[in-house]
Subunit: 396 residues, 2 copies
């Protein structure tokens, strides 16, 4: 079969790894065919050298090589339409997961990647020997602009470096985007003066695209340095647009809806999104926690962290963000497993502290100090009241 050749050695090809059932020559060929130049019946004029080829098949996994000419330079939606498009709907399949994509230099070179990336973010704060500590303002939606800004202030004063909007807060009747930006940036300066530390706030600009760009420009104009985009609900075309606008803003990527695409028997593993989003040029990306409220298999999560931080041609590393149901009790696990080149991000685990946001932030700082110095939290808590209260409320 012309779409199946186990002797084929890919050269200058995009390689997709799929896990699928049934996994056999016939079905594998159909996947390669539909996602490259073929369809369900023969058509005259089909170009032989553009055919994708299954070159590996073992234990339920296949690898397909796609000639790089099949892909438009710098166009990620087109890549998805090809290698992650129609094939998921094919009747012959009982399951299909796109688990990895590998790109030749001839594909990667047309992307800018992150403007700041992991190093740029660390340099912004001047942090080098501990993780970046962050929080999402909670309740996620419902506070007015002033109370919202106040909660950010308390977080910073308590020791947080980074504060952000949550995913469903954009511009609401009770919390207008522009007003929020003004209030938060004003109070950010105050927090910076009082603590002597650099602080950062990610404003959620997720919207239809020109609205999004307008809002990002508003942040910039008012002295903000960071915006957040919900990368999957806005779409990868919108992410590329935000990066290509070159506004000099750190781009924080939230990943709402990723599990609708990645969990279950059909879909796309998050590692693939890590790669696409790194190409697109986000600077920070939610990449899982293992512990906490959100599902994420250990091996998958570590795979994402490793990829985001490793060297990859000319594309800068991305700062991974651990977020979702975290509290101070999780910190030893987080430090041990994710190290320090990472954002630890707490929501309820800060603002739900019995003594409020300032104390919640302090408890996080204390947990990190203890973990980095390899002191058990329980012992450290003896002389640190905020941590003590946090551990009392939340046990791992």
């Amino acid at each position: 079969m012309t779409y199946f050749d186990l002797k084929h050695v890919p050269k200058n090809e995009v390689v997709a790894t799929f896990e699928l059932t049934p996994c056999n020559k016939g079905v594998a060929s159909k996947v390669a065919l539909e996602s490259s130049v073929g369809t369900w019946t023969g058509v005259k004029g089909t170009v032989e050298k553009l055919k994708a080829k299954v070159f590996y098949m073992k234990k339920g996994f296949i690898k397909i090589g796609y000639p790089v000419e099949l892909f438009e330079k710098g166009n990620l939606p087109q890549l998805l339409s090809s290698v992650a498009g129609n094939i998921f709907g094919m009747k012959v399949l009982n399951s299909l997961k796109l688990v990895n994509l590998d790109f030749p230099k001839g594909y990667v070179q047309f992307f800018k990647g992150p403007a700041f990336g992991l190093q740029g973010v660390l340099e912004y704060y001047g942090i080098s020997e501990r993780p970046v500590l962050g929080t999402i303002v909670k309740p996620k939606i419902g506070l007015n602009e002033r109370n919202h800004a106040k909660r950010a202030y308390e977080s910073w004063i308590g020791g947080m470096d980074f504060v952000k909007d949550d995913e469903n807060l954009t511009s609401m009747r009770f919390n207008n985007f522009e007003k929020r930006v003004v209030e938060v940036l004003k109070i950010q300066k105050k927090a910076e003066r009082e603590t002597g530390s650099k602080k950062l706030y990610a404003f959620n600009v997720t919207a239809s695209v020109s609205e999004m760009i307008e809002r990002a420009k508003f942040v910039k104009k008012n002295g903000g340095r960071c915006v957040m985009i919900d990368v999957l609900t806005a779409g990868i075309g919108a992410v590329q647009e935000l990066r290509n606008a070159n506004l000099g803003l750190i781009i924080h990527a939230h990943r709402a809806m990723h599990a609708a695409i990645g969990r279950g028997s059909f879909g796309i593993d998050f590692l693939v999104w890590c790669k696409l989003l790194r190409l697109a040029g986000v600077d920070q990306l939610h990449a899982g926690t293992v512990v906490g409220k959100m599902k994420g298999d250990r091996q998958d999560v570590f795979g994402c962290y490793n990829f985001l931080r490793k060297k990859w041609l000319s594309i800068k590393p991305v700062m991974p963000v651990a977020s979702g149901g975290l509290h101070p009790g999780h910190v030893p696990f987080l430090v041990e497993n994710f190290g320090i080149e990472v954002v630890f991000q707490f929501g309820g685990g800060v603002h739900g502290h019995p003594f409020g946001t300032v104390s919640g932030s302090r408890a996080v700082v204390q947990a990190v100090q203890a973990s980095i110095n390899r002191v058990r939290l329980k012992n450290y808590a003896e002389k640190h009241e905020e941590l003590k209260q946090a551990l009392k409320k939340w046990s791992r």
Copy 2:
């Protein structure tokens, strides 16, 4: 529990229907909480009147009402981040499908919907008593601009109304977007002159957003009337942007990747996308076939067709498109089940005809004539050679 009240009657709320396991009060409440104003632990300041409420729970399904204030006017990515975001990743769930969304007038009124819609498309052609017949140029990728245009011409001459690019063809080294537009529109005029009928071509503009808008403007400037966008790979933010640009072009929506999101135990049913895309304002939308190469349960597909064509406040109906592995042998089923307010779209089933594209198109026209007049294809084929050959090659 404040997020669970079976006596609650939703009023001015967005109502989401989920199918989930486990389906019990505790888990249902957590879904309502995470997708509205709550998180995994209590936080001071949470606004009671913004809480979503589970008001129905039966046989594995729940309905949740979300106060409309939770949603920004006209911002579909924000809606998705809320009701279709983090919840899919929650550890407490074994499965979660968002199967429907219902909107109050107070939400719908901020959307334009389709500029043309079903009626506008029919008026463009002047068609009223038969389905619109369409084809995708095949091979889907690999032809140069001239050969590509030639295949479109042959399709039109053979009787097709509508021709389109396939999902992975954008602007390639061997088939440049601008050149393709020029070649195709030139030959479209010729086909219109020779057949005396209005023809339409959908150029695939899927790309990062400003590139997409530039390409759509190029189509417009050169006299084209229609563009295609791959709605899920580009993202709903990009779709809204294309519609909001108000270019006076018919928007054809392809749905590559929908099964990655909708098939399996976690995800979003296509009916939900039909609603969002109708709000966003696409004019034509791929909505399934039942028969052919692509999976689609009968009831789900009919649900989508019904929704797209029915009256819905001020939002125009959308023209459904049946596409995916179709050939003339499927036409009686299609006419019987989808009626005539629809585009029947054939790819390999036209260009894979033993005598080529013109004959393939004629075979489709003949199959439609037979089906509308309730003549069996086999009988009609006796005096129609093209149909005869098609049926010989492809049996249902």
